[in-house]
């Protein structure tokens, strides 16, 4: 499932002159404004910035949930801006795993069913699903909670379940939008440790949106700071 930290070289995501403008009435909101960046395979990157800085917009563009107004975003050298909606869906299914601040588990499904959902969408054989769900759930240490519904899980457990769901299709890039935003400090640290473990053990590229600089400094390899839709700093972690 990818390479380790020692082999960071190939480009996982390349963002070239990307702008994303929204029309809100008579006003044009420039959520992303001529953004350029290159994220290497296996990197753990933190996108920092205050609310409205454009970091979540950029994450959605990388995920293929949104399209840039101009510019190009390459994921493993494939330009997302040129993909049709079905190809973008394939990109989200096979290349990307996404974790949200609000967990976004489906409340009427059990943990197992929630984690299995991406496999259903990817048309993975029924026989293989069980093993892959078990593997993902074990990785986030929720093996005993398979039959529980989200409402029966704590916040940390829900985020771990969401993480298992993001991992189950074995993506190469994990995008996390404020994954600790709804958690207390200790639980947030647990999630961050899990992300670090996934990055190190699986070699998975991680792009995490956060406004918590201390956490970013502690776990990420690199911090990109955005402000008013632009990258204002791009610095590697101080060793």
């Amino acid at each position: 499932m990818g390479t380790t930290n020692n082999s960071i070289s190939a480009t996982a995501i390349r963002v070239e002159h990307v702008t994303r403008h929204y029309q809100m009435g008579a006003t044009v909101v420039r959520a992303a404004n001529d953004v350029n960046m290159r994220i290497r395979t296996g990197e753990f990157v933190a996108l920092l910035g205050s609310s409205g800085s454009g970091k979540s917009t950029l994450l959605n563009l990388m995920a293929g949930l949104d399209r840039p107004t101009s510019g190009a975003i390459f994921a493993h050298d494939r330009n997302l801006a040129e993909m049709n909606s079905q190809e973008l869906a394939q990109h989200r299914s096979h290349t990307i795993g996404i974790v949200f601040q609000a967990f976004n588990l489906l409340p009427r499904m059990t943990l197992e069913e929630n984690v299995e959902l991406p496999l259903r969408l990817a048309e993975v054989n029924r026989a293989e699903r069980t093993a892959r769900v078990r593997e993902a759930v074990e990785r986030v240490r929720l093996g005993t909670r398979l039959t529980h519904r989200p409402t029966e899980l704590s916040g940390g457990e829900q985020q771990r379940a969401a993480l298992a769901r993001a991992l189950v299709n074995r993506p190469t890039i994990l995008l996390a939008d404020e994954p600790t935003g709804n958690l207390d400090s200790a639980t947030g640290d647990e999630i961050m440790l899990l992300l670090k473990e996934i990055n190190e053990n699986l070699g998975m590229t991680i792009v995490m949106v956060t406004h918590e600089r201390p956490r970013a400094e502690r776990f990420a390899h690199r911090m990109i700071v955005m402000k008013d839709g632009k990258v204002v700093s791009d610095e590697p972690k101080q060793s």
């Binding site: 949930l65 909606s85 989200r92 949200f100 259903r120 969408l121």
Partner: protein, 466 residues
């Protein structure tokens, strides 16, 4: 997404808003029930009419005559009359019976007669009844039994005659009546007749003899009439007028087995004509009724009979007109019945649009996890189709029950008027399949707009939705 997963997810979604989806499904069910009830009434009435008409023997039969029979209605020359080359005799009857789709060929035997019961004479007409009639519904509801055998000396009385014989018609069953009739008996060979036109002796085939010498080849052309009596046991009494085919209306009050009637050799209306024509010895039939296995095949059989050089007549055109009338009737019933289903389809649109609003975030999550627009569209289509399927099945069941209720009510009314029970509705299998398929198609059509709207949802907007 694979079909099975799609179905599972759709089922889960439908169970989620159980009350609303159940009510929507019930709405579709009522719509389908309305359609099924209307159509079942149309089909039932059509079946009833066709059944009743079939019992008249007019719509599944071809009536065969010698070819010139109809031409003889006008003035015809001797030469034309001599062109009757194919007699309607026993050999012709066998050939007709061998035609495809023919189930029976029998003559129309009727003759006026007199019966004696309790020492009193009663004038009536005797009719030979083909064994085929036993199962065609003509004798449904009769008192007593059908004939025990094809040549049994038994009789079934029509109720009007039975009432003349006794104040208590049912008491006649098991009693004997004496049938007095005129038997046609051929003259001995020595009693040579003269040609009706020329006074010359004729051969057995009715043509003038090549010889003028009297007594030569002196096959007789005449017959004598002898009064005969036969005792018949009354086995049943029938209340309806048994119809036997074209030209058989107003038939007799005394019914006997056809085979028994044939062995009586009773004088009939065509005997005098045969005598004059010189075909009296040939035992020809005035007409034969060819019973066809399916009214749709009557035209084929009629054409085949004509190819055998006989005259043929059927009421197939009248039957087709009847089918046309009922087709239009069914069409309008179907349209009116479908209106309720159209209204129900609005319920589907409403339910699915509501589902989009409620599941907006869920749609966003599905898209974030890799669902394409097509997956979302198909999911809503499957939900609409499932409601259509369940509503269709429910509707067919309700429609079937309504049909039975209509039948029940109709028969209660008819019994109150001392009329026999009938079935005015029918739900054939094709209607069940058609109603369910139609329900699914209408539901899918209703799902087009909600499915397209759900598929178009912007995942980023949908994920922001609370």
């Amino acid at each position: 997404m694979k079909a099975r997963d799609l179905a599972e997810l759709a089922g889960r979604n439908l169970r989620e808003a159980l009350l609303r989806n159940s009510l929507t499904t019930l709405g579709i069910g009522v719509g389908v029930a309305s359609l099924v009830a209307m159509l079942s009434l149309g089909v039932g009435l059509q079946n009833l009419a066709q059944d009743r008409l079939a019992r008249t023997g007019l719509f599944d039969a071809v009536f065969v005559t010698p070819k010139s029979a109809f031409a003889e209605m006008g003035q015809v020359s001797r030469a034309a009359r001599d062109q009757i080359v194919t007699p309607l005799d026993e050999d012709a009857r066998k050939r007709l019976a061998q035609l495809p789709n023919v189930v029976a060929v029998y003559p129309d035997i009727r003759f006026p007669t007199e019966i004696h019961y309790d020492g009193k004479p009663y004038a009536t007409v005797v009719t030979g009844v083909a064994p085929y009639s036993r199962n065609d519904g003509t004798f449904d509801g009769m008192h007593g039994n059908f004939f025990s055998g094809a040549d049994a000396n038994e009789a079934i009385l029509q109720i009007d005659l039975a009432k003349q014989l006794s104040d208590q018609p049912d008491s006649l069953i098991g009693k004997d009546v004496i049938l007095r009739y005129a038997e046609r008996r051929p003259l001995p060979a020595s009693e040579t007749s003269q040609s009706p036109n020329t006074g010359k002796p004729q051969t057995a085939n009715g043509n003038p003899s090549p010889s003028n010498s009297e007594g030569e080849d002196s096959q007789d052309q005449g017959f004598s009439i002898v009064t005969k009596e036969l005792t018949l046991r009354v086995v049943g009494i029938i209340e309806t007028e048994p119809a036997g085919g074209f030209g058989a209306f107003g038939r007799g009050g005394l019914l006997i087995p056809l085979q028994a009637a044939e062995t009586l050799r009773a004088a009939q209306s065509n005997d005098l004509r045969d005598l004059l024509r010189g075909t009296a010895r040939r035992n020809t039939y005035e007409s034969l009724t060819v019973r066809v296995n399916d009214p749709q095949r009557v035209k084929d059989v009629e054409d085949a009979v004509k190819k055998l050089d006989f005259g043929a007549f059927s009421l197939i055109d009248a039957s087709r007109s009847l089918s046309l009338v009922f087709a239009v009737f069914d069409l309008f019933l179907g349209i009116f019945g479908s209106l309720a289903l159209v209204v129900a389809s609005l319920g589907i649109i409403n339910t699915l649009v509501m589902a989009i609003l409620e599941r907006r975030r869920e749609i966003g999550i599905l898209k974030a996890l890799g669902a394409g627009d097509r997956d979302v569209r198909r999911l809503f289509f499957v939900e609409a189709g499932a409601m259509g399927l369940l509503g269709g099945i429910l509707g067919v069941a309700i429609g079937w029950l309504i049909g039975h209720a209509i039948n029940f009510g109709t028969n209660v009314y008819l019994r109150g008027r001392q009329l026999p029970s009938i079935s005015v509705t029918a739900v054939p299998w094709w209607m069940v399949a058609l109603a369910i398929i139609f329900s699914i198609l209408v539901s899918l059509a209703a799902g087009i707009y909600p499915a397209a709207r759900a598929a178009r949802l912007d995942p980023v907007e949908a994920l922001r939705y609370e």
